[in-house]
Amino acid sequence: MQEKDTVLEVKNLYKLFGPYDFLDERKAAFKLLELGASRMDVMETTGIMAAISDVSFSVKRGELFVLIGLSGSGKSTIVRCLNMLHKPTKGEILIDGEDITKYNEKQLQELRRTKVSMVFQNGGLLSHRDVLGNVAYGLEVRGVGKEERENKAMEMINMVGLTGYEHEKLSSLSGGMKQRVGIARALANDPDILLMDEAFSALDPLVKNDLQFELLRIQERMGKTIVFITHDINEAFKLGNRVGILRDGRMVQIDTPEQMLANPADDYVKKFIHNVNTSKVFCVRNIMSTPSCIVKDSDGANTALTSMRANGVSSAYVVGDHMNFIGIVTLEGALAVRDGKKTFSEAIIRDVLQVNDLDAPVADIVPLAANAAFPLAVVDEEKVFRGIITKASVLSSFVA
């Protein structure tokens, strides 16, 4: 069953750098790598640089898969193999079941034009064109007519929140806006797979946060499969459905963030998570956020539905007269009320887990958060609803 919705599968991928005529050395390097030799040893004995060795992973449709590692761990090389900007030395890359390492130039062009797009660390944007010209570039090389590609590009520009900037020169945009242009350009091709190579690494923290949020929103809406490269564990855990940790060109562990926190595969992973873990101690107060959608219990289902639609969420928080917390109403619940199957009061889910102490350390609420179906509600002594805590915010606080 897993086979069916696997979009991308990488099998035993190797990429060696070194003089092309070093055939014997290459063979020796493979042999050493297969025996598990480290990159340093291989370099010393053969003079060959093993950028990635024996990397395998698979990505499901609609999944956000994060590859994380320090600089030089081979993560950028891997992502460049996925659209064959780098030719792997050995191994298979299956996209929709087809091995793209065996593609010829024409097939590769087709793959890049329709199935795989990439967002680059510094944008890789064309400074001689305006925003619209950049976003339309992918469609232009594909041969789409001017009007059609500009319409599509405008749609993408609106989606990434750059409405009104379509005729701006790139030099007048900020770093965050440029990265939005890069994302819009990649999405304009309507690819199945989006590759993001340290796309947010050069941005300042606030802008980074915005864009991470934006990316999650876009992914939710468009259901793209995303392979995201980063060196920031915080970002990895925040974004990733699953995370793969790379070290010296080898995959150390692939797991969900929760699993990885609970069972790090080895000391390296532990250190990776832990190093940043101990730097700060957070309280509930620090990590809670304000829900975008709050309705009063007296408002009724229609208001709740309108509010959910306006904010693009699927549940609303219900409060009483003095902001005292009552519960959550989901989209299905509200629809049931509208159709007359339930009363609004019945539709409210009341057994939402609550946190009462705003100054409790985050570590204390981890077990609560891990098992909760909904974000935790934070309620103070006067029963006033103060905010919510999502699983993601708990996880990212651990590694921030």
Partner: protein, 285 residues
């Protein structure tokens, strides 16, 4: 025995003679080819010269003023350049200026036709630089008179060998800067272009050349300047125009005449330079 160590030994290596032979051989056996080429080029040069002569002097001055306004956004400079052009005419050099410009324009057109494709090809072929660079260096540093000898032998005196010698001398910067400009385009941008499935031609024409355009324009500007600088030298092989005027002034020891004709060349050079420079800056923005 010892004299061999003190003075350079008498080896008498004679390379010059075979080269002479070679040029003579070409001249005798392929003379008609050169005669035909000369005729074609003459028509080209005279065509441009005729076109320049057809433009009334006031229109030319107005064109320069408005071009300056458009490119540099300054009426003041436009009026200065217009005034300087008027001075050339006032000194009686208008017609000679057109003759000189015709040679310069022809040489620049051919330099670009030859230089741009070579520059692009050089950028594309890895390692080509190591071979071509010394050749370009030699072309640029070789005393310019040296080109004239074979040019005159093959084509006879006149404007055509002048254009040929000028092209050899002035083609270098456009080749160099075109290939340099394309090569220094941000690698990530080229990668991005490829990642969207661009063919090599699409990457070249939609990404590399537009991104390199400011540098390429600088090369074109330098080519123009070098072509202007060649006009006096070319007068020695019978190219009429302002250069000839300077040459005559030297022969007759007429300082005034030489200086004024020289200044006319300077004015042309400055106007061409400033206008193309501001074009570069506009492109770069």
């Amino acid at each position: 025995m010892t004299s061999c160590l003190l003075n350079f030994p008498n080896i008498n290596l004679n390379i010059a003679e075979p080269i002479d032979e070679f040029v003579r051989y070409i001249n005798i056996n392929y003379g008609e080819v050169f005669v035909a080429a000369k005729k074609m080029l003459s028509i080209f040069i005279n065509g441009i010269n005729g076109a320049l002569d057809m433009i009334p002097w006031w229109l030319m001055i107005l064109l320069v003023v408005f071009a300056t306004k458009k490119l540099m956004n300054s009426y003041r400079n436009g009026v200065i350049y217009g005034g300087l052009l008027f001075m050339i005419g006032a000194c009686g050099y208008w017609h000679m200026m057109n003759e000189t410009l015709a040679i310069v324009i022809t040489a620049v057109i051919f330099s670009l036709l030859i230089g741009l494709p070579i520059g692009i090809a050089l950028a594309a072929v890895r390692g080509a630089d190591t071979i071509v660079r010394p050749i370009l260096d030699a072309m640029q540093t070789m005393p310019t008179f040296v080109y004239m000898i074979p040019a005159v032998m093959l084509l006879g005196p006149g404007k055509v060998p002048a254009v040929l010698a000028t092209v050899v001398y002035a083609v270098v910067p456009v080749i160099r800067l075109t290939s340099h400009g394309i090569r220094q385009v941000d690698q990530e941008v080229v990668e991005a272009s490829r990642s969207f499935g661009s063919s090599s031609w699409q990457t070249l024409f939609k990404v590399q050349i537009p991104q390199a355009l400011p540098t390429i324009m600088t090369g074109i500007n330098q080519t123009m300047m070098m072509a202007v600088a060649m006009v006096v030298t070319c007068a020695m092989i019978g190219a009429n125009g302002l250069g000839m005027e300077v040459l005559i002034a030297i022969n007759r020891m007429e300082s005034g005449r030489g200086i004024i004709a020289g200044f006319a060349i300077v004015i042309i050079a400055i106007i061409i330079d400033r206008l193309t420079q501001s074009l570069v800056q506009k492109e770069g923005k």
